[in-house]
Amino acid sequence: MGDSTHMPAGRRRTTMTGAEATAEAMRQIHPDVVAAYPITPQTDIVMRFARFVSDGVVQTEFVPVESEHSAISAVLGASAAGARAMTATSGPGFALMHEILYVVAGYRLPVVMPVANRALSGPINIHGDHSDTMGSRDAGWIQIFSENAQEAYDNLIQAVRIAEHPSVRLPVMVTQDGFIITHGMEIVETLADEEVRQFVGTYEPERSLLDVDHPMTVGALALQNSYFELKRQLAEAMAASRRIIADVGEAFGRLSGRYYGLTESYRMEDAELAILALGSTAGTAKVVVDELRARGQKVGLVKVRVFRPFPAAHLRDLLRHVRALAVLDRSDGYAGMGGPVFAEVKAALYGLPQGPVITNYVYGLGGRDITPEMIESVYADLGELARRASKEPERVVAEAALTPHYLGVREPDGALISALGALQLNGER
């Protein structure tokens, strides 16, 4: 690819993979420093961006490092020095960053990082699930999940403005499902270079380690007398970021026509049965919702776009009148009680005088496909669950909340799709 296709460009509508769209967003953001180490399926993002650097399309300082621990450390240093700094990673590489993720957030550095979600071994697996980023969900980073390549592009541009907002100043990771989005080709509408440049603005750090006239210490010791207060500050910034994320999503909508909030509700107005999902699965579920709605079923979908900070209040409003809810987790908590999203949704809905009976499906580990048929079977299960819950609420609610189901795993009785097995597929597909 020559640079002729990347001269200052206007809006384009073209086919791209998620990785390509992400690299394109990075080119338009034009960060001062990028440090990265390649790991599948993130490699394609950084490989493309490195080519922009070597072709002179961007003037970014590119730091090839020897591990992801070093990549995030270099970015931490660059950000403390006042640079707009980015890296990208995936799966085991993300896990290797775990220690420094806390440091970046603790120093309140507005680093932005695309993550290609990938399973954490073993056995060895390079495909997409959410076990990597879920493992660092409490590191103090804002986490935004993308449904497709378009959102991976849109979210990354918004992430810069969210991270650098004076009342946030937190690192932001923007995830996309490994291979499913990173390597899947879709139509993506990109903004003009100038529009992105104006939207993210010029980064003017409040302070810089390179400013020798105003010396300072970053990373001082903070023991029993101050550490707790600093972590409380971090928690408050995270809570406050909800409003900023919504504002930035609104501003991005005015620019692009594509509006974003903490959550997205799809045909939830009068929904009795709902699925809650993150990432690319939300797109698959929308197809099923449309089909079931066409058959007169009151079903809906809630997509959690922002997983950190967790949109608890939004979910309480959205799900208050739902009869049965299935939370889809693309990672397992191995606690015998389902995945991490399930636990958080239950906590968010705690104490509602009337709320849904909630159950959990762990699915798609290691890149296992989730099909429209599987999602349809979940809605069928939910219908049965709602009927049973209306008869014996306490027993059914407890059973549903304590028993995770495994969707799409080979069971000994040959059942592949519906874990509850309450209803069979109607065979119309």
Partner: protein
């Protein structure tokens, strides 16, 4: 060698009383030279270096090796030890040439 007594200076930490709303974001220390004001010599337990300037040949090995920059210089000559920042690790005594033997680690008592 007599036992030297010292009093431990309290570490100056104004931030210790600040509520979370008023602390510098991210634990940043927004001024320079703060390492000098934190008396890490208060961490010293048991042993302290004592310098014999009569024996010292000013080779500066102790100055090079001290991890806390606690060996004081006057021009190019060793002039003393900054006990406010010496943690008593003993590296200076180890690297002092054996024939010179100008630094000895001695027992130290803490008052109060």
């Amino acid at each position: 060698m007599s036992v030297v007594k010292k009093t431990m200076p309290a570490e100056k930490e104004a931030s210790v009383t600040l509520p979370w709303t008023r602390m510098a974001e991210g634990g940043l220390v927004p001024r320079g030279g703060t390492a000098a004001s934190v008396r890490t010599g208060a961490w010293r337990t048991g042993q302290m270096p004592v310098l014999d300037l009569e024996a010292c040949i000013h080779c500066l090995r102790c100055w090079i090796w001290c991890p806390d920059s606690a060996v004081l210089l006057d021009g190019e000559k060793v002039s003393g030890i900054d006990y406010d920042h010496c943690k008593g690790c003993g590296i200076c005594a180890q690297v002092c040439p054996p024939k010179v033997h100008a630094i000895q680690m001695v027992a130290e008592e803490v008052e109060g």
